[in-house]
């Protein structure tokens, strides 16, 4: 493999990883607040289809992103209502959300399948940075949504670990009763982050339909939402780890794609399977590591909080 192809694969890894990254960042915030949302796949799909339709009709991908964000947030709000206010089982509600999102997006997008998008995002080489060897072309010759994700990772890391709001967020995920007794509004915080999580998943979905593909087809996410959920564990609920984690997954995705174009004699089905096999293997290894290092999920993850409950 020569140098150029190598760089190209790495650059594709970043692009391929970005939708997963957005979704994983959203799920990290959601789980940090103690809510498990398995509806990522569904929220991504709804974001993808809504974003695509709007971008197609307005010829402006940014409107697409905005609407995808709102759509993802709206779907997440259902989950918030069910699990925080009505204290429904979070796993069941999340799974239902995925099924709902899959069906809904298929229905909305029926007449848009296969249509090309006239004005998707374009790559912008950042002056100066993009000239750094290897790093430059891989990370700094990308589209605006990738740059936005860099900023987001840094911002979310700072928010989570260095600010008062981040402290409250983590407190609610660890022990909502303790947080509540100190005057932290656990319900409000959970609502906010579940909805933000959905918004980010929506953006992740829209990135697929607006840039990565760029077109709409049914089930365009093809399991990326689930990979994002697994990635959260891999990243030990830390936004920075999610960054390189999603590029790892993106890389495997890209590699499969490239191998195919290079006429390497591997079954295409095997290549398609790669990211998912990788997910399983990584999950086993990471869970073991986390157990040894005693890094755990937020203590109250998946548990509803009721102030007057015994």
């Amino acid at each position: 493999m020569n140098h150029d192809i190598f760089i190209a694969i790495l650059a594709t890894a970043v692009t391929a990883g970005t939708p997963i990254l957005y979704a994983a960042l959203g799920e990290i915030l959601t789980e940090r607040a103690g809510i498990l949302n398995l509806g990522v796949e569904g929220m991504m799909l709804v974001g993808a289809v809504c974003g695509f339709i709007i971008a197609l009709n307005t010829a402006n991908p940014w409107y697409g992103i905005l609407i995808a964000m709102l759509a993802g947030g709206a779907v997440a709000l259902i989950h918030a209502l069910l699990t925080i206010t009505l204290k429904a089982n979070q796993v069941v509600s999340g799974l239902a959300l995925t099924m709902f999102g899959t069906g809904l997006s298929g229905y909305i997008g029926k007449s848009y399948v296969g249509m090309p998008l006239p004005a998707p995002f374009h790559k912008i080489a950042l002056p100066g940075l993009s000239n750094i060897p290897v790093i430059g072309p891989v990370f700094f010759n990308q589209d605006p949504m990738v740059y936005l994700s860099y900023i987001l990772v840094a911002a979310l890391w700072f928010l989570t670990f260095k600010t008062r709001s981040g402290l409250h967020l983590r407190a609610v995920g660890e022990n909502p009763a303790a947080a509540d007794s100190m005057g932290v509004n656990a319900f409000q915080i959970r609502y906010i982050y579940v909805v933000i999580g959905g918004m980010l998943a929506g953006i992740g979905g829209a990135y697929l339909s607006l840039y990565y593909v760029p077109s709409w087809m049914e089930n365009i996410t093809a399991g990326r939402g689930w990979i994002a959920v697994a990635l959260v564990i891999f990243a030990t609920w830390n936004p920075v780890n999610a960054l390189w984690g999603s590029y790892l997954f993106g890389g495997i995705d890209a590699l499969g794609f490239r191998l195919q174009t290079l006429n390497v004699n591997v079954s295409p089905y095997f290549l398609k399977m790669l990211p998912y096999i990788f997910t399983v293997v990584v999950l086993v290894l990471v869970t073991k590591r986390n157990m040894v290092k005693r890094i755990g999920s937020p203590q109250a993850l998946g548990l509803p909080y009721d102030r007057e409950e015994r």
Binding site: K162, A171, A177, D180, S181
Partner: protein
């Protein structure tokens, strides 16, 4: 003045309420939970600078009342008046800003956070971007000023119970609490820690705060309280002034009858060694040394007490014997058979029973009903089954019999046991364990958090079991309890047995020294 113009009676009332300067007045508070009235028109008040004890049996509504005052529960009826103004607390946040701070019965701390992070939680006065170094420095100063020693940088999961409690108190002082509520603060402390706590709260009262202390220990009430309010079955039955406080009266008010405590030692301890530990060592949850070379034995018809501060290996000891924790070296014998490495199921078959520290987690299954919980150890047995199915009729018969004979108060046999009071949970657990006719009974903190009546009942049960020849390993942090029940006492400190003494020679001070880790008395 205004008062002069009013009719005499009103003026008198007005003057009184002005001069008494109540920090808090609770009037006619009623709180209902599904199926129970936890508080029924309760009246309670706190004056500036006083220590007010709140007494009552398990389930009499003490924690509920104080949770209402601290904004956690919303009362169904009644008024909360703070410094003369009527308040409605929508959440703990409102109560905190009104100067109410509560240290809950079960600590509300975040284990994975540092002390400082726990303390500043919910405080909006600090900058949005945290500067932990500076916050920690300020907290260190604050804690020094109050004489409550905490290290703001250490992680909460590393702290001892006593330290955690200090953190809880500092948390509330940091938020500027004028009324400090302590829900059973001494239940988990050593005598030394309790003394220190009492010194601290007296100091705080002197500085004008109002302190509410909930406790089951009457001698503590005599020691520190300026006033006492007694609750019985959700009603406030009396409030006594300092000079009216005496134990008999308090006990009578609480339970409506006299309490007699009696204690008989076993006159004829058995000679058969039921449990033998030889040089047992194991690791604790953190992977550090938990038990170090533990050697002792327990005979039939004997209560062997393990004294020591919680967290010095008590839980590990119980778990090791019951097969819940792997041992690294040494061996354990039951009735002469080496049972090292047996599983809990094999231990059950060997006639070993465990009343664990954690009643609702390890001991019972909170969401299952009484029947399910009581047959947990029997369901496999022939007599409980009909083919592959459980014979529910027989199960129910057996369970009703047990519930009756152990006097467990349950609303129905099917209702989830998590709704039971602490005393009833413990009876239920003992009913299951004792009914298996064990040769060895391990009881870990069997009366923690129980009121005097329930405590007596549990002690009766244990002593009855000893009469029947069961060997009992009693692990407790309450020295009075250990001295009262045990025939011999081993002291556990930092994972080692620092001494074994016969209880007729026991001296609280000596045990206290051994608990601090000074090896002294030779084994008997």
């Amino acid at each position: 003045m205004l008062a002069d113009a009013l009719p005499a009676t009103i003026a008198k009332g007005l003057k009184e309420s002005m001069s008494n300067s109540y920090l808090v007045e609770l009037k006619n508070i009623t709180k209902k939970f599904p199926g129970v009235i936890a508080n029924d028109k309760v009246n309670f008040n706190v004056k500036k600078g006083e220590i007010h004890a709140l007494l009552g049996e398990n389930g009499s509504g003490k924690s509920t009342l104080m949770s209402i005052l601290s904004g956690l529960y919303r009362p169904d009826e009644g008024e909360i008046i703070i410094n003369g103004t009527r308040m409605v607390f929508k959440s703990p946040r409102h109560a905190i800003s009104a100067g109410i701070g509560m240290v809950h019965q079960h600590f509300k701390l975040i284990d994975s956070f540092s002390v400082a992070e726990n303390v500043i939680l919910g405080d909006d006065r600090i900058p949005r971007v945290l500067n932990m170094k500076e916050i920690e420095k300020n907290l260190a100063q604050l804690s020094l000023r109050y004489g409550l020693h905490i290290n703001p940088a250490s992680m909460v999961w590393q702290l001892s119970v006593g330290e955690k409690q200090r953190v809880e108190i500092v948390k509330m002082l940091y938020r500027g609490s004028q009324v400090l509520i302590l829900d059973e603060p001494t239940a988990v402390l050593t005598p030394q820690e309790t003394d220190e706590l009492f010194r601290n709260i007296k100091e705080m009262a002197k500085s004008g705060r109002g302190i509410v202390v909930i406790t089951h220990k009457l001698h503590e009430v005599e020691q520190i309280a300026d006033r006492v309010t007694v609750l019985r079955k959700g009603n406030s039955v009396a409030t006594l002034e300092r000079d009216q406080i005496n134990r008999q009266e308090l006990a009578r008010l609480m339970v409506g009858q006299e309490i007699t405590t009696q204690c008989k030692r076993n006159t004829r301890p058995g000679t058969q060694k039921v449990l033998e530990l030889q040089n047992v060592s194991c690791l604790n949850d953190l992977g550090l040394s938990g038990l170090k070379n533990i050697t002792f034995e327990v005979h039939s018809g004997e209560i062997f007490g393990i004294a020591g501060v919680a967290g010095n290996g008590q839980r590990e000891l119980a778990e090791v014997i019951y097969g819940l924790r792997k041992i690294n070296s040494g061996s354990i014998l039951v009735n002469g058979t080496n049972i090292t490495g047996y599983s809990p199921r094999q231990m059950i078959d060997c006639g070993v029973a465990l009343v664990p520290e954690d009643r609702l987690g390890t001991g019972l299954i909170p969401n299952l009903g009484t029947i399910d919980n009581l047959i947990l150890k029997d369901y496999r047995k022939e007599k409980m089954n009909r083919g592959p199915f459980i014979n529910w009729q027989k199960a129910k018969q057996k369970v009703s019999r047990l519930v009756d004979s152990f006097e467990v108060k349950v609303s129905s046999l099917e209702a989830p046991v998590k709704l039971l009071s602490g005393g009833n949970l413990q009876r239920l657990l003992l009913a299951r364990e004792i009914s298996s006719k064990p040769q060895l009974l391990i009881a870990v903190y069997p009366v923690r958090g129980l009121d005097i009546k329930a405590t007596e009942a549990i002690h009766e049960l244990l002593m009855g079991q000893r009469e029947k020849g069961t060997a009992i390993l009693l692990i407790s942090e309450d020295l009075d309890e250990i001295c009262k029940l045990s025939d011999r006492i081993g002291v556990l400190s930092n994972g080692s047995i620092t001494g074994i003494i016969s209880s007729d020679q026991a001296d609280i001070n000596e045990i206290g020294l051994l608990m601090m880790g000074e090896t002294g008395a030779e084994a008997i």
